[in-house]
């Protein structure tokens, strides 16, 4: 970005500065540490200058917002046009309670919904399954059938909101329920806006709510791609997620690498069943973590955007501009929240949310201060949402596009993260792709090593966590935590019993039988699942059919 003569001069001046000025200072005031590193453990230099960007090319590497390789953002005007979608992940207890929380959030100025399902729902068990005991309604809302889903969105017009659903292995079933609720409201599928997470690879890697083995899982995922291409053009068919990979302990580089590697696997799978890349790729979306190291995180988002654009163009030959754009949701890092002095988490979340905004996110969830202790209370969620509103309306960082571009440090980090992530992707290619790398335990072990290192650094005080290993105080017990009504499980089981008495069981049986027959073929299962759901077949019944045909995934763990 500088001409040769100028660069030579800068190099010379930098040497002089180091030898004369810096050395003199160091003798009098040694630095705090021998080695400075980012939150992910990458070495940080004392100073970055144009010399670090000697190889960079403005037009090629950065270009302009809304233009390849989208380093500076996917839209030309970014937040000058419209702020990101403020989308708080929420759901607990029954559909009725969660519905109340959604309405509260919408009233407080939230601009999109994000549904958290309980673990039985995420793993395809009804509330009355033995594995569901003690889990019903705990980490999200319990959904057994369309009836619950109708209650969940009662009084919320599905043509007015966009809804994100964190559901993976049983994604086709919950998507079908959403379509069916909309239909009852008189809203056609092609009007629906939202996202279904539908990313099972990261479940094997980090999150754990898998059901089926990789091959049939990939089939269900690509079934959704195909169905939505035809019926739901505004729907994001997948949210390829680095969030949980980072939460499990990955570094920033690993987060980008493993997420994009998953993305490559999904694109490969879709092409393999005969879809054209430019038909489905525009509806792929991503989900990243925003961790503590502000500038490293900003660089991470920019690097991910640039690397994905190159992959789509060069590896897959995508032509449609929208296929090249990495659009993403961000959530602040739950793993950085401390149970100690929990109010300090508000400051942590602010820094992390700022990183997401400076990194050009399309939507954002800010964690609540009390989440290392329990599900967030209403007060805490409001503060978290206000943090976003404050960034949007008061901080000023939204008034120009990609304000940190051109920072020698941020651009250098962006280059390094892209380069190192690509090296990981090449390694995974050599192993034979992501599925192989998961089955060999390679990805999980890389993440476990990083997680262990992180913990050791904290315990050796190489990494300071305010309130945990420094600046500790004596505290009383936290007050006002949210407690999920212990009756939820019982109520859910009762409702389920009632439903099974009231519905047309003959119809349910017929639909399930047809699903079973079709699951044995290569046909798209979405239309049949939609029929099952509409006849009030339960989530568990549908998933049991699929389990009987597809089998179940068993993880192999290497410590």
């Amino acid at each position: 970005m500088f001409d040769k003569e100028e660069m030579k001069k800068i190099k010379q001046l930098k040497n002089e500065w180091e030898n004369n000025v810096v050395q003199k200072t160091l003798k009098r005031f040694p630095e705090r540490k021998d080695k400075f590193v980012t939150g992910s453990g990458k070495k940080v230099e004392r100073l970055y200058t144009p010399v670090d960007l000697e190889e960079s090319d403005h037009n090629k590497d950065l270009n302009f917002p809304g233009q390849y390789p989208y380093t500076r953002g996917v839209q030309p005007t970014m937040y000058r046009g419209r702020f990101w979608t403020m989308r708080q992940y929420a759901g607990f207890g029954t559909a009725e309670e969660s519905n109340k929380r959604y309405k509260y959030l919408l009233n407080q100025g939230q601009t999109g919904l994000s549904v958290a399902f309980d673990l039985p729902t995420q793993i395809g068990y009804d509330s009355d399954h033995t594995m569901s005991l003690g889990e019903v309604g705990k980490v999200g809302v319990a959904i057994d059938s369309l009836k619950d889903m109708e209650m969940l969105f009662d009084g919320i017009s599905l043509d007015k909101v966009s809804t994100s659903m964190t559901i993976n292995a049983p994604a086709p079933v919950l998507l079908a329920m959403y379509i069916a609720v909309a239909e009852k409201q008189g809203v056609a599928p092609d009007k629906l806006k939202g996202t279904i997470q539908n990313d099972v690879l990261k479940e094997y890697i980090a999150r754990g709510t898998y059901i089926f083995p990789p091959a049939p899982s990939m089939r269900l995922i690509t079934n959704i791609f195909e169905f939505c291409f035809k019926e739901m053009p505004l729907w994001n068919t997948i949210s390829i997620s680095g969030y949980h990979i980072r939460e499990a302990g990955a570094t920033a580089v690993q987060e980008v690498a493993f997420t994009l590697a998953d993305g490559i696997a999904y694109v490969d799978a879709a092409i393999k069943i005969g879809l054209k890349v430019d038909d489905f790729a525009p509806r792929l979306s991503f989900f990243f973590n925003a961790h503590n190291d502000l500038l490293e995180e900003v660089a991470k988002f920019r690097a991910a955007r640039r690397l994905w654009a190159k992959i789509m163009k060069e590896r897959f030959g995508a032509k449609n501009e929208k296929s090249l754009m990495l659009r993403f949701h961000t959530q602040t890092a739950g793993c950085t929240l401390t149970a100690q002095q929990a109010d300090n988490n508000i400051a942590r979340v602010t820094i992390q949310a700022l990183a997401a905004v400076l990194g050009g996110t399309q939507s954002l969830h800010t964690n609540s201060r009390d989440e290392a202790l329990a599900l967030p209370a209403e007060d805490s969620v409001r503060i978290a949402l206000r943090t976003q509103q404050l960034l949007a309306y008061e901080s000023g960082v939204t008034e120009t596009v990609d304000p940190l571009a051109g920072s020698y440090y941020v651009e250098t980090l962006t280059n390094e993260i892209e380069k190192q992530a690509l090296e990981y992707i090449e390694k995974i290619d050599k192993i034979g792709g992501v599925t192989q790398a998961i089955e060999k335990g390679f990805i999980q072990q890389e993440i476990q090593n990083s997680a262990y290192q992180y913990q050791k650094d904290i315990e050796e005080s190489k990494r300071i966590v305010v309130g945990v290993n420094k600046f500790k105080i004596k505290e009383g017990s936290p007050k006002g935590l949210l407690k999920v009504n212990p009756e939820v499980g019982r109520r859910q089981v009762e409702e389920l019993k009632k439903l099974k008495e009231e519905r047309d069981n003959h119809k349910v049986k017929e639909n399930l039988k047809l699903l079973e027959k079709t699951a044995k073929t290569d046909a798209n299962l979405m239309p049949l699942i939609l029929d099952c759901v509409k006849s009030y077949a339960t989530l568990g019944e549908i998933c049991d059919i699929l389990r009987s045909i597809f089998g179940e995934y068993k993880e192999s763990v290497k410590l």
């Binding site: 673990l119 039985p120 995420q122 793993i123 068990y125 033995t130 594995m131 569901s132 005991l133 003690g134 889990e135 705990k138 980490v139 479940e203 980090a206 999150r207 754990g208 709510t209 939460e247 499990a248 302990g249 793993c335 929240l337 401390t338 149970a339 100690q340 290392a372 202790l373 329990a374 599900l375 476990q448 997680a451 262990y452 913990q455 315990e459 966590v465 945990v468 290993n469 017990s477 936290p478 935590l481 407690k483 999920v484 212990p486 993880e555 763990v557 410590l559």
Partner: protein, 131 residues
């Protein structure tokens, strides 16, 4: 002479998939010279107790972040009692509200370690308990 190595089962009961903590603790205990067996995800209390018996462990470490501890931790204790096992120390970890802890201890859980715990404290606790 070196004594017998402490044997410990780290287990993930229920449907919760958050295993970062369980794996980090497992590794720290192993590095501290203990024999560690890790169950993997989605274990029923029955499976956990069966493994503990088969592997002849001194300690069981249960990890839950989903809120199902109030149901699953006491269930493990109940099954141990049913099998007449009194010498296995059971400890728990995860996102566990302080107000739940007395009830869990009453059920027989020896200690609960919440977020921010130093693994050296867990090691110290185990070494003091298993003698």
């Amino acid at each position: 002479m070196e004594g017998k190595k402490i044997r410990i089962l780290i287990a993930k009961p229920g449907l919760d998939g958050h295993d970062r903590g369980a794996k980090v603790v497992a590794r720290a205990l192993r590095d501290a010279g203990m024999e560690v067996i890790y169950t993997g995800l989605r274990q029923t209390p029955e499976q956990i107790v069966e493994t503990a018996i088969q592997e002849d462990v001194d300690v069981i470490g249960l990890s839950i972040l989903s809120g199902a501890h109030t149901h699953l931790f006491p269930k493990v204790m109940e099954l141990l009692k049913e099998n007449d096992i009194k010498d296995i120390i059971v400890m728990g970890g995860g996102v566990i509200p302080e107000e739940d802890i007395p009830e869990l201890k009453k059920a027989g859980i020896a200690e609960i370690f919440t977020p921010g715990t130093d693994t050296r404290d867990i090691i110290k606790f185990i070494k003091e308990k298993v003698r």
